[in-house]
Every structure is written in structure tokens, then in C-alpha cells.
């Protein structure tokens, strides 16, 4: 029977009857139940006769709209100190350092530069060659003819096997070593990784890993597996992406103290995810430029803060989560979300796509964008260069490398931008 006439006889009789039956059935006498808490009135009992049933499949709550206050963005008044480069140096593509007095950079033409605290010194141009078909490193000592100037100039990608010079795209410091790296694309199923290491005698030596298996996080042939390792509250987190051989295999895998944590089904086949954690049961997962989820170690909830794309997530002394993303491409925003209380602020940060620093003090960067959070205020800067890469020292000094937006030269038909490097001192602006 439809309950179309108000509370049933059973429901109407319940409050008084409950006392009798409680006494009768529960053995020893009990104190009277604290009404009305003991007798929550069923919602349905209050229906009017004409009211249709309240089906749960028609009752879905709309996801709560997160209204965030607009965050103020002040103007950055700090100094940009230019770092003089050797003449005719093209765009600087990458920077890494041991300290503010030992900064290494690589230019688009392969020059490696070092700042020693006083000046920039040219540390040579490592030259490595791979065969044109497959990106395999050519040992020029054993095959000098392949590496001869004329043979190299005549060599065409994808053509008959000959030697092609590699172009370095990044530089890194690994202990005592300085290493430049290139990803060689020859039209095969994946790129090959070639590196050159600066030896103690100041000579560069070409290297390529021999292994041809495809590992999660591998940048290409010759590169090993890479995973994100985190530790939070005594628990270890290990996040691996897919093994990519044209297609992405295996999806993402997250281990928490050795246990595999189920991931959102959307991440089953890639793309690779990123992770940040406040606690073993407060995990934040995102795919750069795409969606984000928050997990409690058992399941995940899509993160909806009005950002179509999320690029980075980090935390501020466990109180706030910072989310850098974009409402749409070109409308980048920074959200500060108070995890404990809910709510937060939304800062307009057009152009900012990545971060250097931590929750207390960080920089947001993009090719033409630079913002500084000093722990209290977000400030927008006008960078005097097109930013290609950046390094931030432990003391907070920021090194920006890239190109001069105005200075160009030509080489044949090609227009080449001139390199530019600026130091932005740390501390309060």
C-alpha cells in the first residue's frame, strides 16, 4: 500500500508503545528514552497524501559549489639582477646548481656555462652523435668517419645510417657530476636518451644506457625507471606511471607502505599522475593539465574547485592546500584551500604553470609570468626575459634563464633569440 494518508497506524502508535515494549523485552528496567532523540520521526511519515515517493535516485544532491574569495595580488618590487653571458649566447634552456656560487646552465647551441659567484665561464660544448635510424650513440673513437664534419653535415634524419649531433635539453648536478641530457627522436616508437658527463679532467664523455626495456617513468630508450617517492607520518608512498611504448601500458600504480592503493579508474591507462600527501589518509592526486582527486587511502573524490586543469598541488604547514591550475587555458589561477575549515581564496595568476619553492615561500612561473608568495602576500612581477627554466637556491634566490625578448640574431634562415639570465635575490621583496 502506498503511504498516501500520513503516518501509518504503526508510526502513530510508536512513541507510547515503545515504552511498553522496551520494558517488556529488554529485561531489567531501563530509564525512559530521551525523546525526541530516541525517536527520530521518519521523513516519509510527514508526506502529504498527494506527494509522490521520494526516490533516492531522483534526490541526488548537487555537488556543493565552492565559493572562494578573490585573493589580492600585489606588485612585485624586487630586483632582477642580470647575469652577463658570453657574447652571442643563444637561449639558455636549463639551469641547475650546487649553490649560488656554483650555477650551471646549458644553452640552446650546446654550450655549457658555469657561474662561479663572480662571472660566467664557458665549460665547453659536449658533442655526441647518434645514428640517424635509431638514436643509438655512435662511438666516434671507433667510427671516426661517421663523425667527420662532412658526413655529419650531410646526415639527414631517418635517412641511411649516419651520425646526427644531439641537442641538449637539460642539465643537472648529480653529486660531483655535471650531466647534460638530450632526448633523440628518430621517428621510432620512442625517443632515446643520450647524456654527456663532465669528467674530472674537464672533458665531456657521451653515455647511453644499454637497456632496451620500457620502464615506468622512463624518458626513452636507455633510461631506467623513475617513480615519485614520498614519506609522510612514517608511511612511505611510491607512485609509478605507465610504461610507454607508443601506447601507455600498466597505468599508474601507488604503493602505501607496500600496499597497492586503488586509483580512480580514469587513471587506469595513464596518463601519468602526480601526488602530494598531507597524511597517509589524505592523498592528493592529479594529472598535470587535467583532473585532480583527493583520497583517504580507500577511495577518491574528484576535486572540484572550479579548475578545469590542475598543474600542481602543495601544502602550507598542513593547514592549507595550494592548487595551481587553470579555469581555461590562459586563465591560470592559484587556489588556497583551507583543508581544516573549508573555503579559501582564488588568485588570478595568468601565465603561471609551474612552481619553485614550498608552501611557506614559493614562486609561480610561466614563460612570461612570474609571481612570488612570501608567506603573506602574492605579488605579480614583470620578468625581463622569456623564462625557459629556473632554479631556486635554499636561501630563496631565484635564477631565471631563457631568452631576451628583444635581442635576436639570424643564422642562415633561422632567427635565433639571445640568451638571458637574471638573479632575483631571496628574502622579503
Amino acid at each position: 500500500m502506498a503511504n498516501s494518508h500520513g503516518p501509518t497506524r504503526a508510526a502513530r502508535a510508536l512513541p507510547s508503545f515503545a515504552l511498553i515494549t522496551l520494558f517488556a523485552c529488554s529485561g531489567p528496567p531501563l530509564p525512559p528514552p530521551p525523546t525526541p532523540a530516541a525517536s527520530p520521526a521518519p521523513t516519509e511519515a510527514a508526506k502529504s497524501p498527494a506527494e509522490p515517493p521520494k526516490l533516492s535516485l531522483l534526490q541526488m544532491d548537487e555537488p556543493p559549489v565552492q565559493t572562494l574569495a578573490a585573493g589580492p595580488v600585489a606588485t612585485f618590487a624586487g630586483r632582477f639582477e642580470p647575469v652577463p653571458l658570453p657574447p652571442q649566447m643563444p637561449t639558455i634552456v636549463s639551469v641547475d646548481a650546487r649553490s649560488e656560487r656554483d650555477v650551471w646552465m646549458v644553452a640552446a647551441d650546446g654550450h655549457v656555462l658555469r657561474w662561479d659567484g663572480a662571472r660566467v665561464v664557458d665549460r665547453g660544448t659536449p658533442q655526441c652523435f647518434t645514428d640517424s635510424c635509431c638514436g643509438t650513440l655512435v662511438d666516434c673513437a671507433k667510427q671516426p668517419a661517421m663523425c667527420a664534419k662532412k658526413a655529419v653535415e650531410d646526415c639527414q634524419p631517418f635517412g641511411p645510417s649516419c651520425a646526427l649531433p644531439v641537442s641538449w635539453s637539460s642539465i643537472r648536478i648529480d653529486g660531483d657530476d655535471v650531466i647534460v641530457r638530450a632526448l633523440v627522436e628518430t621517428g621510432g616508437m620512442r625517443a632515446s636518451v643520450v647524456e654527456s658527463r663532465l669528467g674530472k679532467k674537464g672533458r665531456w664523455a657521451c653515455e647511453q644506457g644499454a637497456e632496451d626495456y620500457v620502464y615506468p617513468g622512463s624518458a626513452g630508450r636507455g633510461d631506467g625507471a623513475h617513480a615519485v617517492e614520498l614519506s609522510v607520518d612514517g608511511a612511505s608512498l611510491h607512485l609509478e606511471g605507465s610504461a610507454v611504448l607508443v601506447n601507455a601500458y600498466g597505468g599508474n600504480l601507488l604503493l602505501l607502505d607496500g600496499r597497492r592503493v586503488p586509483l580512480p579508474n580514469d587513471l587506469a591507462y595513464g596518463p601519468d599522475a602526480q601526488i602530494a600527501a598531507r597524511a597517509p589518509d589524505d592523498l592528493w592526486l592529479w594529472v598535470s593539465g587535467e583532473s585532480a582527486w583527493r583520497g583517504n587511502g580507500l577511495s577518491w573524490t574528484p576535486l572540484s574547485l572550479g579548475l578545469e586543469a590542475v598543474n600542481d598541488i602543495w601544502f602550507d604547514a598542513k593547514e592549507a592546500a595550494w592548487i595551481l591550475g587553470a579555469e581555461v587555458e590562459g586563465k591560470e589561477q592559484l587556489v588556497r584551500w583551507d583543508v581544516g575549515k573549508g573555503g579559501g581564496q582564488r588568485f588570478e595568476t595568468p601565465g603561471a604553470t609551474y612552481r619553485k619553492g614550498d608552501g611557506k615561500d614559493f614562486w609561480l612561473l610561466g614563460e612570461k609570468a612570474l609571481y612570488r608568495w612570501d608567506g603573506a602576500t602574492l605579488r605579480r612581477a614583470a620578468p625581463p626575459l622569456l623564462i625557459a627554466h629556473a632554479w631556486r637556491s635554499p636561501s630563496g634566490e631565484l635564477w631565471l634563464v631563457g631568452s631576451d625578448p628583444a635581442a635576436k640574431t639570424t643564422q642562415g634562415d633561422e632567427e635565433i633569440r639571445m640568451g638571458a639570465v637574471f638573479r632575483v635575490p631571496g628574502g622579503k621583496p
Partner: protein, 949 residues
């Protein structure tokens, strides 16, 4: 109802449960659904039309109510046809025009077979559906009737598709509307479309009259893909919509809700049937939904109306006969063990098995999925262990394979195994060099000898790469070797001059089954006798015929392409690409625990709100870190279970620790996974193929994962599956059921386990002290948990449908289900808010169950009350409730996400302070405190529940 009133109140009051929700809403057609426009009386007898010929040359034939042919007209390339009560029809046809080679038209054939209009639709694809606005059975009117033409081609960027509205009498185009729809149906003047989470009724002008937002049941993983939403309109105007989680919602013609319920499986189609019923097709099979009542086996009649019988080539019609399925009963009388060189590395790609005796078994296959494992290897089993005998190979002298071509060396590629008449092992293969030639090696000791007498016979036959070879031998010494591509057989053997046999003179395949039909479409058979016939199915399944009936063998992956062989009764081998399984008698198999299945229950009443009334200050949490001998301390756990004597097992997904109140020791540690990687694996016709190692560890998907029966004794569910624990050691063992999600110990000491598997195999098994029993009669569902007070007082909770995730887990989804077993009958109850994840028995015949979206069910006897948690302000609190425990009817503990720790004390549901764990902790398991403190665990920590002094 009146007679049931007093017992119901007594039951409710004695268990001190929350007041019951109102009785179920019994659906009845609404006033509007009963209106003449919505429920016309169809003409008693109507004409029908028949389509014949080919799609591109369709012939339409109309028959009058008495079956006389009215006319026959060719209508060309017909894409959609709907009949009219005057014997005419409307059709969408595709025409080929010089300017636009594919132009769709709508045409009308009147009752005499004359075409009265042909209207161009300008453009469109090849999938269309047609509906008339007028009620079925009413003849086309000269004016006012509308014809709705829906195109199902790919939607536009806004996700919308095209609908044309035409004047049904003249064919004049009236409107073109873009709508989002994945399904449409119309009947009795009611036209409904569905898409995603929306159902709309479309009015005569093509605009929505009403739209209703219909959600799915809540899911543990909201990112799981949703299937398309289906819709149908019943003969009484009821609109029924369903989707991939088995959820169904019925609305009346005015869009007002009538009822909701769940069926098992993803809804793939809904058809209106006579009398206001619906036939709902799901991937679990069809069910009839008759005014809210689900009938699983009921027959139904089609809706009366002008039928269109499509007899064109390749079309399925409702009249197509279906063969009744051959019954087969699941059994655990056979033990199934997956084989390999080690338990961690089972054989892969097993091509062939020769079982000469239980202690003399030969296998051709691969050791594992790994780089370099390209060639098949030979393995031998001596009854105890496996030996790897390497890749069968032989050196061949250079040979001229074709006239005028220099001699070349060939290499041997093994394809199959067999035995010679003398019992020697034969390795059948091909020599690959300048050509592909069959070749047979005979194993002699540890070496091989080529059966060279075949060379001449096969030298003139060009064998295709990838051919299959088979070999039979008779006791008299005659042997026949056949290739599949081309199909050629060569006779040879003792005293036989090798020769190619004429077509049709190959070896006879013995008929092992006689007149008995198999329950599976046969891939392979083997028998030790007429009463021991084994069969594997093309699409999976292993069956045994005992001379009387078929039995379904459990414990083998439901993969296609498996074959069967054996050495004799009780020694059977199943093999294929997926691996190798040894099937032997299970000495511990006991008779099934059988019960009858109750009919599906009617739709559940909407759940009532259950408020959380303040705080229960009598308990608090204490964080615990367990020091484990020689191990990293245990700081968190996903599951906790208490055994006799107070021994507690804590399971963190990678380790299981036993705690006796003073010391913690390790019972189980997940094996360290091997690195995951992929490699190039070119295969014929595949230049872009990769293979990968298995990505491990697997996720732990169980809800109740530990069942201690004593210190160091019991069973676990772990990423490797079912692990009995004996003497403090856990060892994986094959389990007859897959996707086990919960294990628990009954008072008898037996361990019960439930499965969430998506198939129709049994879903519960009992491991008792004396043996193993299947539980049969339990209705299929994705069971997440169970609670057992006795063999005749057990509860099973879960979701009607299981959702498979990409990492191999099965999540309980769809409508929640709670099943009570009283020793005779499995009685089903619906949980209207979604899948249940946990159940606890609170007393004889009484249980509490919790699940998704804050769902709480209280059952006592035959009365079940559904509640949902409510937050302040009267809104639902849709938190995931993961576990429930009870020491009695008045002491029930519920935990879940958002630091939910609740206690029902017989009077009210109160929150217990969980601030020790933070504000958003996920609690996954609870042991209610009694004489000793209780436990709450989750990924964020381990806590004792202690009384506040």
C-alpha cells in the same frame, strides 16, 4: 497489514531499533497514466508488415488482420520502418544520388501499397528510428499527426543529435530539433528520450514537456564509466529508464516518480510488454518488471500493435528459436591447481599437454611472460615436481627447399605434442627455412630423433606459417599427422608407406558425448569413460559429464580457448594461452549447503532519515602503534578481526599481524613485487606490439579480510587471493570461487567466504574442519560481506551488480541487497540507497547493514527498515559507511569515511569522539568494545575504543 501490525511493533521495539520507515510505495499507474491519451485500447486485431530481401533491396509486404497479403512493394535501402494500423507503413530509406551519394528520405506507404510522400532529410547516417505522435492502434489522421524521425549518427560537439518532425499525413517537414538522446521510445502518445542522467518526455512540437534528472546508485569509484541510459514507454504510459548499474526508475506520463529498484547487471535494453510490463535486458539476463515487481523467469507477451517482422538476411527476429540451456551444477568435487615452475610464475601459452600417467606429464609452453620467452619449451611432471627440459630443437643439415634455390639450414619450431604407438613422446612442429615443412621429433632419452620418413610425403605441400598440427596413433602402429592450413593428412607408421590421404580420410574423431548436449559450445573434449567426459567451452567454462548429468568445474579462469586432456580418471589437465591447471578429486569436498531462493522483493520504500543525536561521551579513541618482532611497526590497518581467546588480526594490505594483547607477530607479508616493465614483442602481422610483466602487487579489494579461528590459525584474503593460515603461516591456495570479498568465522569454527563475482557461479563457500561446502541457492550478487550466527542464521550484504575496475577488482554497485538465510530459504531485501558494504548480526534473526551514501539497514525477522544518515538541516549525509559491528541489539557500532564513528545504544545513534584520528579519517573496520576495548582501524591509524572513566 492490520494483522502484521502488532508483531512488527514488538519486533521493532524489542530490538530497540529506530522507528521504522513508512511501508513501501506500491506503484500504481498515476491518474495521468490512466488517462485515455496515455492508455488507449488497442484494436483487437491489427495488420502487420514484413521486411524481406536484403538491406539494400528491402521488400515490404503488408498483411491484414486475418493474415491475407495486402500488398508487396520494394522500398529500396530501408533503414527504419514503422507500421501503421491501416496496413501502411512509414520508412526511412537511403537513396544514392549523383550529388550526394547517401541521402536519407522518409516515405509513406498507404494501406493499398501506394507511396503517398517521399521527403528528403537532406543528410544523415545509417541508423534511424521512427515514431508517430498518435497513440498506437489509431489510424493516421489527415492532419495533426506528427512523425518523429531520430537520427542516431554521432552527436555534434554539444552532444546532441538531430530529430525531424514531419506532418504524418503529408510528409511536410515541420521542425528540426537538436536533442541529446541515447535511447527513445514512444507509445500511447507518450514519447520519452533518455541521455546520461536525464529522461525527458517530448511533446508534439518536439520540445521537452518535462525533464527529470535521474542518477545512478552511488559508487565506490565515481570515475567508473557509465553506460548509455535506456528508456521505454509502457502500454499504460509509464516511462521506465535504466542504466549500467542496474538501476531502474519508473515515472508516470507526467514525469512524477512511481518507484525505483535495481536489477542485477547493466541494463542494455528495455522493451514494453503487454499489460504494462517491461522486459529489461541486462548482461545477467532478461527480467520482467511488471508494475514494480521483478519476475526472473516469467513469460511475457509483446505489446499489441502493428508489428514489423524483419526477415531480411542476417536480421534477428523475436521469432528466432532459442535453444534452452543445458543445466550444469557447480561442484567442488574437484580440486583445481594452477601449475608452473613456481607458484609465482605459472606456465603461460601452453600449447600442448600429453598426460601419459599421473607421474608422467609432458607440457609444451612458456615458463613465464618475460623477454626472451619466445620459443615454447618442454616441461615434464613426475607427480611431484616440474622439470624444464628446454626448447625442443635439432640440427638439420642444409637442404634444398625449392628447385634452383641454394640449400639452406632450417630450424625447428615446436607446435604440439603427441605419443607414438610405442609410447614415446613426439614433438610435432615445422622446419622453417626456405619453406615451412611439418616435422616430427621423437624424444629418446634426453635427445631427439627426427621421423624422417615424413619428409618426402610433405615435401610437395606448402604449409602456411601458423598451421596447427595434430597426430593420432592406433595400437596397430598406424599414425596420421594432419595440418590445418592447408588441411592435409599424412598416413605413416609401422609397415605403412607414408602417403597423403585423400580428402575426408583423416582420423575419425571419437564421439564422446553421443546424444548428450553440452552446456558449453565445445572447444575440446576428453574422456576416461562414458561416465567421465570432460569438455571445455569455446568462450570459457569447464564441464564434466558423469553419465547422468553435467557438472560445472570451479576454480579455472573463465577464459576462452582452453583445451582438456588427462591420463585417466581423476587426473585431468586444462590448458591454453592462459596457463595450465591440474584437476584432481577433492577429498575434502562435502555436500552443498542448499537453500531455496526467494522471489525478488518488491520495490523498497524510500529510506527514512536517521539523525545523529549528539555525542556518546562514554567512549574515546586511543591511537596504537604495534611493535612487530623484527619488523617496521604497524601504524595503520585496513581490517581487524577478533578470534577466540581475544586474539586479534590486523591487516594493512601488505602485512597481517597477530596481536594477543601483549605481543604482535607477523603472519603474512606480501611478497616483494618484481619490477614492472615492457618490451618489444613483434609477432606476425604486428609490427607494433609490446608485452609487459604482470603489474604487481594487486590491489586488496576485500571488505572483511581476516578470519582467525585461533592463535596462528584461520584464513586471510590477500592480493594473492585465499590464504589459509596454519601454524602461524599463510600460504596461498586455489579457491573454487573468485573475487572473494569477505571471510568470517561462524560459531561452529567454520570459515565462510562470499564472492562478488559477476557470473552465475555460487557466491559463498564454507571451509569447515572436515571439508569444503558450496552454498547454493544464494541469489547472485556482488556480495561484500556476511555475518554468520549459525548455519541457519546467516546474512549476506552487497550490491546487486559488480563493477569491474581496470586493476582487476570487483566493486559492489547498484542497488543494495541484504539476504537472510534461515537454513532453508535465502530471503532477499532491497537497500534503496545503494550497495551495502558490511553486515553484523545483532541477535537471533537480527542484523544491521551499512553501505554507500550513508545507508543503514536494520533487519529483524522478516522486517527490514531502511534509513539514511541525515546531517544537520535535514539534508542527506552521503558518507560511505564501511563497517558495522554489534555486541547485541542495543550496542551497534558503525564506522566510515569522514571520521564517522557512531554507536546505536538502543535509543539513539550518537557520534563517538574520533578527533584522535583527525576530521577526515577513513575508518574501514571496527570491533565493538565489550568486556575489552574495541578496535577501529583505517589507513590513517589503529585505535582502541576505550571507555571514558
Amino acid at each position: 497489514m492490520r494483522r502484521a501490525l502488532v508483531p512488527l511493533l514488538l519486533a521493532s521495539a524489542c530490538s530497540a531499533a529506530p522507528p521504522p520507515p513508512p511501508p513501501a510505495h506500491v506503484p500504481a499507474p498515476s491518474a495521468s497514466a490512466k488517462a485515455p491519451a496515455a492508455a488507449p485500447a488497442p484494436a483487437p486485431r491489427l495488420p502487420h508488415v514484413e521486411l524481406s530481401g536484403l538491406d539494400a533491396k528491402t521488400v515490404l509486404t503488408a498483411y491484414g488482420p486475418d493474415g491475407d497479403e495486402l500488398y508487396e512493394v520494394p522500398i529500396g535501402w530501408a533503414l527504419a520502418v514503422v507500421g501503421a494500423p491501416d496496413g501502411g507503413a512509414y520508412a526511412v530509406v537511403m537513396e544514392r544520388e549523383p550529388k550526394n551519394p547517401y541521402t536519407p528520405y522518409v516515405l509513406r506507404i498507404d494501406g493499398s501499397g501506394r507511396e503517398t510522400f517521399r521527403t528528403s532529410l537532406q543528410k544523415g547516417g545509417f541508423t534511424w528510428r521512427l515514431f508517430r505522435s498518435a497513440p498506437a492502434g489509431t489510424a493516421p489522421k489527415p492532419e495533426g499527426d506528427r512523425l518523429f524521425v531520430f537520427e542516431f549518427s554521432g552527436p555534434n560537439p554539444q552532444g546532441k543529435r538531430r530529430m525531424h518532425v514531419l506532418d504524418a499525413a503529408s510528409g511536410k517537414p515541420l521542425r528540426e530539433v537538436f536533442l541529446a538522446f541515447s535511447d527513445i521510445d514512444a507509445r500511447g502518445g507518450v514519447m520519452a528520450v533518455s541521455d546520461g542522467s536525464k529522461v525527458s518526455r517530448i511533446g508534439p512540437d518536439g520540445e521537452p514537456v518535462w525533464s527529470v534528472h535521474v542518477s545512478r546508485f552511488p559508487s565506490l569509484d565515481p570515475s567508473l564509466p557509465e553506460g548509455p541510459r535506456k528508456v521505454a514507454v509502457g502500454t499504460d504510459g509509464t516511462v521506465l529508464t535504466g542504466t549500467s548499474d542496474g538501476s531502474l526508475v519508473a515515472l508516470d506520463a507526467e514525469g512524477k516518480p512511481l518507484y525505483q529498484l535495481g536489477v542485477r547487471g547493466s541494463v542494455s535494453r528495455i522493451d514494453a510488454r503487454a499489460g504494462g510490463a517491461f522486459l529489461v535486458d541486462t548482461d545477467d539476463g532478461p527480467v520482467l518488471v511488471d508494475h514494480g515487481t521483478v519476475r526472473e523467469t516469467a513469460e511475457s507477451r509483446p505489446v499489441e500493435g502493428v508489428r514489423v517482422v524483419d526477415k531480411r538476411k542476417g536480421k534477428w527476429t523475436e521469432e528466432s528459436p532459442t535453444t534452452p540451456a543445458v543445466p550444469w551444477k557447480p561442484t567442488i568435487a574437484h580440486r583445481v591447481q594452477r601449475e608452473g615452475l613456481s607458484p609465482e610464475k605459472p606456465f603461460q601459452h601452453v600449447q600442448s599437454v600429453v598426460a601419459a600417467a599421473p607421474n608422467d606429464v609432458w607440457v609444451l609452453g612458456k615458463r613465464e611472460q618475460a623477454p626472451g620467452e619466445d620459443a615454447d619449451r618442454l616441461f615434464h611432471y613426475d607427480g611431484r615436481t616440474w622439470s624444464d627440459l628446454g626448447v625442443p630443437s635439432m640440427s638439420f643439415p642444409k637442404e634444398v627447399f625449392a628447385e634452383g634455390v641454394p640449400a639452406r639450414v632450417s630450424r625447428f619450431v615446436p607446435l604440439n605434442l603427441s605419443r607414438s604407438p610405442s609410447g614415446a613422446l613426439l614433438v610435432l612442429g615445422v622446419r622453417v627455412g626456405g619453406a615451412v615443412r611439418p616435422c616430427v621429433l621423437e624424444r629418446a632419452g634426453s635427445a631427439y630423433r627426427e621421423r624422417r620418413e615424413l619428409r618426402a610425403a610433405f615435401s610437395k605441400v606448402e604449409i602456411e606459417y601458423g598451421t596447427k598440427l595434430s597426430h593420432t596413433a592406433s595400437a596397430g602402429g598406424r599414425e596420421v599427422l594432419c595440418s590445418s592450413d592447408p588441411a592435409v593428412c599424412v598416413e605413416f607408421g609401422r609397415g605403412v608407406t607414408p602417403k597423403i590421404l585423400p580428402d575426408g580420410e583423416g582420423p575419425e574423431i571419437p564421439d564422446l558425448l553421443g546424444d548428450h548436449e553440452s552446456p558449453v559450445p565445445l572447444k575440446s573434449t576428453w574422456a576416461s569413460g562414458r561416465d567421465d567426459v570432460w569438455a571445455t567451452g569455446i568462450t570459457g567454462g569447464v564441464a564434466r559429464f558423469d553419465g547422468q548429468r553435467w557438472w560445472r568445474i570451479l576454480g579455472i579462469e573463465p577464459v576462452s580457448g582452453l583445451s582438456v586432456t588427462g591420463s585417466g580418471r581423476g587426473d585431468v589437465w586444462i590448458y591454453g594461452d592462459a596457463g595450465l591447471w591440474h584437476v584432481t578429486p577433492e577429498p575434502r569436498a562435502e555436500a552443498d549447503l542448499e537453500g531455496t531462493t526467494s522471489p525478488p522483493p518488491p520495490p523498497a520504500a524510500p529510506s527514512a532519515a536517521l539523525s545523529i543525536v549528539g555525542a556518546d561521551a562514554s567512549y574515546r579513541l586511543e591511537r596504537v602503534v604495534l611493535d612487530v618482532d623484527g619488523q617496521k611497526p604497524l601504524r595503520a590497518a585496513l581490517h581487524v578481526a577478533e578470534g577466540p581467546g581475544g586474539v586479534v588480526w590486523l591487516h594493512d594490505g601488505a602485512r597481517v599481524v597477530e596481536y594477543d594483547g601483549a605481543h604482535a607477530r607477523l603472519l603474512y607479508q606480501l611478497p616483494k613485487p618484481e619490477p614492472f616493465f615492457c618490451w618489444y614483442a613483434p609477432e606476425p602481422d604486428c609490427n607494433l606490439c609490446a608485452q609487459c610483466t604482470e603489474r604487481k602487487p594487486k590491489s586488496l579489494s576485500c571488505q572483511r579480510c581476516a578470519a582467525p579461528t585461533a592463535a596462528g590459525e584461520g584464513a586471510l584474503l590477500a592480493p594473492e587471493g585465499w590464504l589459509p593460515v596454519r601454524g602461524g603461516r599463510a600460504t596461498p591456495e586455489p579457491a573454487p570461487l573468485s573475487d572473494l570479498l569477505s571471510v568470517t568465522v561462524a560459531p561452529s569454527g567454520a570459515i565462510w567466504a562470499v564472492s562478488a563475482a559477476g557470473d552465475d557461479t555460487p557466491h559463498a563457500v564454507i571451509h569447515g574442519p572436515r571439508g569444503v561446502r558450496l552454498v547454493t541457492g544464494l541469489p547472485p550478487a556482488a556480495y561484500a560481506d556476511l555475518a554468520v550466527r549459525a548455519d541457519d542464521d546467516a546474512w549476506f550484504a552487497g550490491g546487486l551488480t559488480g563493477a569491474s575496475t581496470s586493476d582487476g577488482r570487483v566493486l559492489p554497485e547498484g542497488e543494495g541487497t541484504l539476504v537472510r538465510f534461515d537454513g532453508r530459504t535465502f530471503t532477499r531485501h532491497r537497500a534503496p540507497d545503494g550497495a551495502l558494504l558490511s553486515v553484523a548480526a545483532a541477535g537471533p534473526g537480527e542484523a544491521w547493514a551499512v553501505g554507500l551514501a550513508g545507508a543503514v539497514l536494520h533487519a529483524k525477522g522478516t522486517t527490514v527498515e531502511a534509513f539514511h544518515l541525515e546531517r544537520d538541516g535535514g539534508k542527506r549525509l552521503p558518507v560511505i559507511l564501511r563497517s558495522v559491528a554489534a555486541t547485541g541489539p542495543n550496542d551497534v557500532w558503525i564506522v566510515g569515511d569522514g571520521s564517522t564513528l557512531l554507536r546505536w545504544d538502543g535509543k539513539a545513534l550518537r557520534r563517538v569522539d574520533a578527533s584522535q584520528a583527525g576530521n577526515e579519517a577513513a575508518f574501514s573496520a571496527v570491533i565493538a568494545p565489550g568486556a575489552k576495548p574495541g578496535w577501529v582501524v583505517g589507513p590513517g591509524g589503529i585505535f582502541r575504543i576505550v571507555p571514558v572513566r
